[in-house]
Every structure is written in C-alpha cells, then in structure tokens.
C-alpha cells in the first residue's frame, strides 16, 4: 500500500467518524434527558475556548492568558443587547466585539515576546474587570446585570454550530499556508520574517480569529447564567482552563484539545459542586504532572504507544 492510498483511506475513516459523532451530537436532544444536553453544552463551551486558544498559541508558542477577556466581552455583549436583539445577532456581535479587542490587543502587544506577552494578557483581564467595576459603581450605579434566559436546547444547538464552525476554521488554518506561517513563527520568528512572511499580520489576524470564537461562546453562555457581574464574566479561571486542557490533551493534533477539554469538563461537573477545593487541587496537580511528564499531552502519549505497537508488528513480519 503506498503512502497516498494510506492517507486517503485514513482521511476517509476519520471523516466518517467525525460525521457519525456530529450526527449523534445533533440528535442528542431527541433521545436523552435534559441533563445530558446541559453537560454537553458545558463541554462544547470549554472545547470552543480550548481549540480557539490552540489556533493561536499552539503553533506560535505565545502563551495567551486573555481567553477570559474575550469570553467576558461576549458575556457582557449578551447581557447588554440580549433583550433588544435576536440571539444569533447578539452572538455575532459578541464575537465581533471580541474580534476587534483581539485586533487591538494584538496590534499593541506585537513587540512583546515570550513571558511579557503572557503577563500583558493576564493584566488585560484584570484591567477590564476593574474598569467595569468602577463604571458600574460610579456611572450606572448598578452591580451586575440580568441576562435574558434561553432554554437548554437552544443553548446547546447554538454552541454546536459555533463548535462546527470553529473546527472547520481550525482545520483550514492548519492545512493552509497560514498554518505553516504560524508554525514557522513559533520555531523562529526572525527567520520567518526573513522568508517573507508578514509576521505581524499573521499573528494579529489569527489572534483576533481565536478571540471571535471565545466571544461567541461567551455570548451564548451568558444566557445560561441569568445573572452576571464583572467578577463572574472576567474570571481568570476561564484563562487558565483552556491552557490546562490544551496542554493535557496535547496540541499536536486537532482532536487533542477536544479530548482534553471533554475530560476536564466532565471532571469539573462531577467534582466542583461536591468538593471544589479537591477539584482545584487535582487541577493543579495534573497541570504540573502534564508539564513534567507529558510534553505532547495525551495525544503524544497515544501516538508514542501506537508507534511502539506498530513497530513491533513490523518487526515480526
């Protein structure tokens, strides 16, 4: 079997697996209880955050701690416009607002490399949070907002649509010359610039695209929470989770962050109501262990095992 035949067979298999999973996900509300739909919505939300984090930070190696900022912008958009406009438009506006913030932050932080970028993006979340608190305290004189409530199935299907769009985008970026450009930026930024890549442009656009999906997810998720305030919307927790989930799942393949996010969300749903301290303790321990012993995440581990098995198979024949 030559290599092209092998890859086409592989893509056919993985394509049909993805199709079956999507059909199952799309019809889940017909045959399963309401709780499954709620759990799946939460899983999809974290997958969206994690995969969109990986779109930018995976290949470039820039650690962004800004997901909470983009997510929060989406949440606040939904809270402000939710009663006035239909939900799909609100979600698009939430995404676009995050996209614009992403462009602005990207353009401002171009010159910052490595650790400075991580610090800056972390500061950004706190800055927006405290500005909003000040605004609510002194200008509007309110604290927090109520969000229009939407039923669980609508939330779930909207999340699913964004999820599919995101996977398509991530796949296209990965298999285009932009994906290659991003990877070369991650490996050696100066060399990438010398080969004619518009480093600035590629970084800013990709950062903004990833911000769009985080904002859209925030706009949908706000309708589930019914009440929000700056502390809920701009919780740095939503910056850390995607990073952990991506590292744990592995960023080498697109399904890595998906698996990482799914496992952790399930763990969270299971533990956070009963033993929140224990959950955060496990969270921290797994993060340290993953960084120490799983440099390529779960996916890297699976591939390593798989290679070992297939090598052995070839050795006997």
């Amino acid at each position: 079997m030559d290599i092209t035949e092998l890859t086409s067979k592989r893509s056919l298999v993985s394509g049909s697996i993805i199709l079956i999973i999507l059909i199952l996900l799309a019809t889940v509300s017909l045959y399963s209880p309401g709780y499954t739909v709620v759990l799946l919505s939460a899983i999809l939300m974290y997958i969206i955050l994690t995969v969109s984090w990986v779109i930018f930070s995976g290949p470039t190696g820039y650690i962004s701690l800004a997901p909470a900022a983009f997510f929060g912008v989406g949440i606040y958009t939904s809270a402000i416009l939710g009663k006035a406009l239909p939900l799909p438009i609100v979600i698009s506006i939430g995404g676009l607002a995050s996209f614009c913030l992403g462009l602005l932050v990207g353009a401002l932080t171009l010159r910052l490399r490595g650790i400075y970028f991580a610090i800056f993006t972390f500061g950004l979340v706190e800055l927006i949070k405290h500005l909003l608190l000040f605004w609510e305290l002194h200008v509007t004189g309110t604290r927090g907002r109520f969000v229009m409530v939407v039923d669980y199935n609508t939330i779930y299907y909207l999340m699913l649509i964004i999820f599919v769009l995101l996977l398509l985008t991530a796949y296209l970026i990965r298999h285009s010359k932009y994906g290659l450009a991003l990877q070369s930026i991650g490996q050696n930024e100066d060399a990438a610039a010398h080969t004619g890549i518009n480093v600035t442009m590629v970084k800013v656009i990709t950062f903004a695209i990833s911000a769009f999906f985080m904002g859209a997810a925030g706009a949908i998720m706000a309708t589930k929470w019914t009440y929000i305030d700056p502390y809920i919307a701009f919780n740095p927790f939503f910056s850390f989770m995607p990073v952990l989930m991506a590292i744990f799942g592995g960023m080498g393949q697109l399904y890595g962050p998906v698996i990482g996010a799914a496992i952790f969300t399930y763990l969270e749903e299971f533990l956070i109501t009963r033993l929140p301290e224990l959950y955060m303790l496990i969270f921290g321990t797994i993060l340290v262990i993953a960084i120490l012993y799983l440099p390529d995440g779960l996916v890297g581990l699976i591939q390593k095992l798989w290679n070992r098995i297939s090598v052995r198979k070839h050795a006997y024949t």
Partner: protein, 289 residues
Amino acid sequence: MLVTILDVVIAGLLLGGIYALIAVGLSLQYGVARVLNIAHGEFIMLGAFATWMLYTMFGINPLVSLVICGPVVFLIGFFLHKTLFRSLLNSSVSLDVFESKSLLASFGLLFIIQNVAILVWGADIEGYSYLAFGVNLGGAIFAANRLVTLLFAVVIGAAFYLFLTRTRLGKGIRAAAQDPGTAGLMGVNINHVLALCFGFGALMAGFAGGLLSMCYPIQATMGLEYTIIAIIVVVLGGLGSIPGSFIGGFILGLIGSIVTYIEPSLALVAYYVIFILLLLAKPTGILGK
C-alpha cells in the same frame, strides 16, 4: 494641606515597604532562576498563616515568628527548585521554552498550595491584633504595626543587598544572573545557586507574609493579588534588577496611596494602566538593562 501630603506620602511608604519586599523576592526568582513564579503570592500566604497560627495558638510574637517561618518557607522553595524546576530546566531545549514551561508549572503550584491551605485553614478571613496603637507622625496618625513593618522591610532589604554585594555567595548569585553559562565555567555551582535564589525568593515572600499579617486581614486566597502587584513592581523596576524592584516597590506604593486618596476604587486600575503603559513604552523598566 501639608499634613494631608505628609499623610499620603507616609501611607505610600508604608505600603511600598511590603511591595518592595515581595518584589525583591520575585525579582530573584525571575532574574536569576528564570522562573516567573505565579505562585509567589502563595508563599506570602503561607508566611502569613504560619505567623497567625503561631500567634493565636501559642502566643508567639509575630516578629519572632519571622525567624521560624522564614527558614521553613525557604526550604520549601529550595526543594521545589531542586526537584520540579530542575527537571523542567533539563528537559527544555531553550531558555524561552523553560520560561513558558515554568510559568505554567507555577500556575499548577498556585492551585495546589492555595487549595491545600483552604483544606487546612478554611476559606475565611482571619486576623489578629498586634501593636495596633496609633503613633503620631507630624500630625498624621499611623498604626505602630505598620511602622514596624516598614522598618523591618527596609532592614531585610538592606541586609539582603549587603549579602549580594559583600559576600562570596552573593557574588556567585550576581554572576549567575548575568550569564549562567560563564558563571558555571568560573566555578559557580550553578544548580545550587539557582535553587538558593528560588529559596531566597520564597524567604522574602515568607517574611512579607509574616509582616503583612500584623497589619491586614489574611485569607487563603489572598496570594494572587500580591503576585500581580509583585509582577507590576518587578516590571516597573526592570526585570532582574534587585535595587530596581526595591525602588519600584516604593514608587508603586506612593502611586497607590495617591490614587487611593483621590478615588479608592481606582487604585488597582491605576496599577494596571501603569503596568500596560510601561510594557508598551519601556518593557525593560526604570533600572533595566
């Protein structure tokens, strides 16, 4: 008017002393050991809770506790570097990779230490009263414990500066900060020095925590706020510059005190605005290379 200005300046210096101590610790950990330790504030919290526990349970003077808690926190930091960060350093291909890996690992540490503390001490706000009488300074009245805190912060900072500039080990640390590779060739036991620096960073945090607990209420989740302030001060003073961090701490304390006088709810916003402007305009800080 004069009394008000004096009031604001002294309050700023009192705040700045703590900030300076915290920032010197972080500066050692990042400047020499290259670990941007997000869990720095957790060592402050450990120091604060240990001091609180020794005072409320055994009646030990908080200033005496410094001598007890400091070494314990130092050892925790020292062995953390010997185990966790050493193996990260060995497995990283470049310093950039090590910096991002250790940043993420310290996030993990943050969650581990904080939640163990919540399990042990609970999530409530605690506090005790020690030297809480007022002292009149030129018309403005300040609590004696805050003056003692400032005094200790300055003494500890100065002692550490002398240690760095006047002793052989201090020279080794400064050499390692400038160029670890060459320092190693010159006979500095580099792995040992890096672990020592990480330990000293934790020691500073422990001292700061003990001093803090005399003046402010403490809580198991208090760490992150101080970590953020420490990062801002370190960037303000110049990453890796220890005198810069010390001066930066007092500058930020003064700014905080002035903004608080004008509009209390804007103090944190002012810190972040300064921080972001600084990163954009002069990321090397006031005393950076």
